[in-house]
């Protein structure tokens, strides 16, 4: 040690001059949330999803003002109309009863019974007339069928409309402007069907009487007269099986679905946060007891209990059943976020910066508001976002099994349920609500992914 080459001089012990240029922060300092927002903005998918969600919320909130149509009002002229369907309608004279064809009628020659359309086929009435299989023979009656589909050999004739002794028939049953196939079958003396059949195809024209057109506000200043073409009310997304406007139902149904989808997770995550942070903070026996209870509650099969609670709460007359659903979700789903938050609190309590803060004399409320809450906020926000799709699915599932909102209140789930029944003939009734559910769920899933990446550095790139 004595043979060292370095010898200290008094100058080494002088106070060093202050560096003028040391540690200049070259970028503006950013808070955690500013940084998270910057990262979220870089994620195009998440940002787009956020705008989409804002758009969807706007659609349901502002929709009623822009599209002021009652979602349970029926347009009986347009039942189950696809979007963009023909809306032209001819103003026709009022309906007058019909007592069979006039003698001057010339019967069709191209079918066995001479089945002929009398007059024009309109949505008011379709009038058919025919002749006996053999002239002058006793007639034992006829059976008339109607179907929407072209008939092949061996096909059933469709919906049986009537058995009659007359040689004419008037159909006024729910006629829609489309093609129909009418079949008349001659019966034998036992009332059984013979092979004496005739089928004709005809296209029904939509008509409306002047009186009705006035009643629905379709005539402008009374300038419309019989024989004119006017347009029926506009339904941009078509109508459902009861003639209710799909767009209005999508708007009001969205209010229900998004309300449940957003508020239920907000409420039960909040409840879980309170419960979890109390448990995490108290520690010891209280924590043990509270968490055993949460463990137990989390093991309950959710959808079964959801159904059970819905049955127990029931839906009173005139109620929509939205609130019971919300309450049931909150009762059943708080434990998972509670456990998550408790874990976070326990973890943060042991972090170095909390110890440092304590060492500097920070009080409990400072620790809670400066360290605990901001540092769990990210996880809580991500949890809420990921819970929204499952809440929307739950509503849809319950509506599907008939335990959802009560009619006539629409929700996207109950609209899907209605739409499935007529999926083959009117796919738009299923398509639109299903599309809205899917887009909403997709947007929340993508936003959740983005938020997780932006807010939680440890979770980044994990699934």
């Amino acid at each position: 040690m004595s043979d060292t080459s370095w010898q200290p001089s008094p100058g080494d012990f002088a106070i060093a001059p202050q560096h003028q240029t040391a540690d200049v922060i070259t970028r503006p300092s950013m808070s955690y949330w500013q940084d998270a927002w910057r990262r979220l903005k870089e994620n195009k998918r998440a940002l787009f999803s956020l705008y989409l969600i804002i758009g969807l919320v706007m659609f349901t909130v502002a929709g009623p003002y822009l599209w002021n149509i009652d979602p349970s009002a029926q347009d009986l002229d347009q039942i189950g109309m696809a979007p963009g369907a023909e809306r032209n309608v001819t103003v026709a004279p009022a309906y007058t009863p019909w007592y069979g064809p006039e003698d001057s009628l010339t019967y069709a020659q191209d079918n066995r019974l001479g089945l002929t359309l009398v007059g024009v086929a309109t949505s008011q009435a379709v009038r058919l007339a025919w002749q006996a299989p053999q002239k002058g023979q006793t007639n034992y009656g006829y059976k008339i069928y109607r179907t929407l589909f072209a008939l092949n050999d061996g096909d059933a004739f469709g919906l049986p409309l009537m058995e009659t002794q007359n040689e004419y028939f008037e159909d006024r049953l729910d006629l829609q402007p489309t093609d129909y196939y009418y079949t008349v079958v001659a019966l034998d003396r036992h009332g059984l069907e013979t092979d004496q059949t005739s089928t004709i195809q005809l296209t029904v024209m939509r008509v409306i009487t002047l009186l009705e057109a006035e009643k629905r506000g379709l005539t402008e200043d009374g300038l419309v007269k019989e024989g004119d073409q006017i347009k029926l009310a506009l339904h941009p997304f078509g109508t459902d099986y009861l003639g209710r406007d799909m767009l209005a139902r999508l708007i009001y149904g969205g209010q229900v679905s998004l309300f449940i989808g957003i508020f239920a997770p907000l409420l039960y995550v909040l409840l879980g946060v309170i419960y979890g942070s109390i448990a995490g903070f108290m520690g010891g026996a209280v924590d043990q007891l509270m968490m055993r209870f949460a463990d137990f509650a989390v093991a309950l099969p959710f959808l079964l209990f959801m159904i059970l609670l819905k049955v127990i709460f029931g839906i009173g007359p005139g109620e929509s059943g939205v609130l019971p659903m919300l309450v049931a979700m909150v009762i059943l789903l708080w434990p998972a976020p509670a456990r998550l938050v408790r874990g976070q609190i326990l973890q943060i309590r042991e972090e170095g910066y909390v110890s440092a803060s304590k060492l500097l004399g920070a009080k409990t409320d400072y620790l809670v508001f400066r360290h605990m809450i901001p540092n769990t906020m990210g996880v809580i926000l991500v949890t809420i976002t990921f819970q929204v799709p499952s809440a929307i699915f739950t509503e849809a599932f319950l509506s599907f099994i008939g335990m959802g909102v009560a009619p006539p209140t629409p929700s996207w789930g109950s609209m899907c349920n209605d739409g499935i029944k007529s999926m083959l003939t009117r796919p738009h009734e299923l398509f639109f609500p299903a599309l809205f559910i899917s887009i909403t769920v997709l947007a929340f899933n993508l936003l959740g992914d983005g938020l997780r990446d932006a807010l939680d550095a440890r979770m980044r790139n994990r699934e």
């Binding site: 079964l304 059970l308 127990i312 849809a396 099994i401 999926m423 559910i437 899917s438 769920v441 997709l442």
Partner: protein, 311 residues
């Protein structure tokens, strides 16, 4: 491990007891009772019926009898279907749901592992993007919509072929099971694909994979022996929740495809407010789900030694 097993089982039994109790008192809190529903009855008939179903006894006595019965596996008699035991209903219809569920789980697990491994292998290339897009789609579309669309698809395919390639609904042969099982397993498969992908990507960076690479092992061997086998572990953990999801998802699929499983029966019982059937099936399903989750957790501890230490 034994202590943990016992603890879990005790908690499981407690949970089932709670489910049974909540179901019992919940059902009795519903205004009205099953006897007062449709036909008007005289007081005497009503009293007889109440005596038959034990409804004339005090609530706590009923509860005690009910607990005794279900602990012996007796769920009572259906209210809407005369003299039909809930046990018979479960015995008859649950196997159908179980077969469908097992098929769906197998389909979901195999598909999830396969697609997840593929996406990880082709990370950030087109197979990854395509599969992950489909996965997001599979998670975002409600199951009954997928069921309806696949049924529509079957109708069109059959019409196009002019013969029945696959039946549109019903139950009976293996052919009836294929499409419903696929629909039922789809969302779980999508979820497992995501999980498998991230699990595979994590394992690429582990020491033992690096060691295997430096030993000069062929890529396929590293993939099958080192990556795949270890990446499957986390998949097992979600099998518990997946079974729960597939069980309740079965309700929807059984309704849409007209499959006479217990799920469809349950939903019908709910719509008809057949209290004993609702109670019996809820407790049965509840117990089934609770013990399946425990089983999966124990299985996981058995497969993965690392889990055994932690409580």
């Amino acid at each position: 491990m034994l202590r943990y097993t016992i603890k879990r089982l005790v908690l499981g039994v407690l949970t089932v007891w709670f489910i049974a109790t909540a179901t019992f008192f919940g059902m009795h809190a519903v205004p009205g009772d099953p006897l007062s529903s449709d036909k008007s009855t005289t007081a005497q008939i009503r009293a007889n019926l109440e005596a038959k179903y034990g409804l004339d006894k005090p609530l706590l006595t009923q509860y005690a009898i009910y607990l005794k019965n279900i602990s012996q596996g007796d769920f009572g008699i259906s209210f809407t279907q005369e003299n039909r035991q809930v046990n018979d209903i479960i015995k008859e219809h649950f196997p159908i749901s179980a077969i469908l569920g097992i098929l769906a789980i197998v389909f979901a697990a195999l598909g999830g592992i396969l697609w997840g491994a593929l996406t990880a292998l082709y990370r950030n290339r087109w197979p990854d993007s395509v599969i992950m897009f489909l996965v997001i789609l599979g998670i975002s579309v409600p199951s009954f919509v997928i069921a309806a669309i696949s049924q529509l698809f079957l109708v069109n395919i059959n019409a196009l072929a002019g013969t029945t390639i696959l039946p549109v609904g019903g139950w009976g042969t293996v052919w009836h099971m294929i499409v419903p099982a696929m629909v039922l397993g789809l969302s779980t498969m999508a979820y497992l694909t995501r999980l498998m992908r991230s699990s595979m990507l994590e394992i690429v960076n582990t020491d033992y994979v690096r060691t295997a690479q430096s030993k000069g092992l062929p890529k396929t061997r590293i993939f099958s022996r080192h990556q795949l086998r270890n990446a499957i572990l986390p998949v097992v953990t979600v099998l518990g929740p997946a079974i729960a999801g597939i069980t309740t998802g079965g309700f929807v699929v059984e309704i849409v495809f007209a499959i006479p499983g217990l799920g469809r029966y349950f939903v019908e019982a709910i719509q008809q407010l057949d209290y004993t059937v609702i109670m019996g099936t809820t407790v049965f399903y509840g117990a089934f789900l609770v013990f399946m989750v425990i089983l999966v957790d124990l299985l996981y501890g058995w497969i993965d030694p690392r889990v055994r230490i932690s409580p």
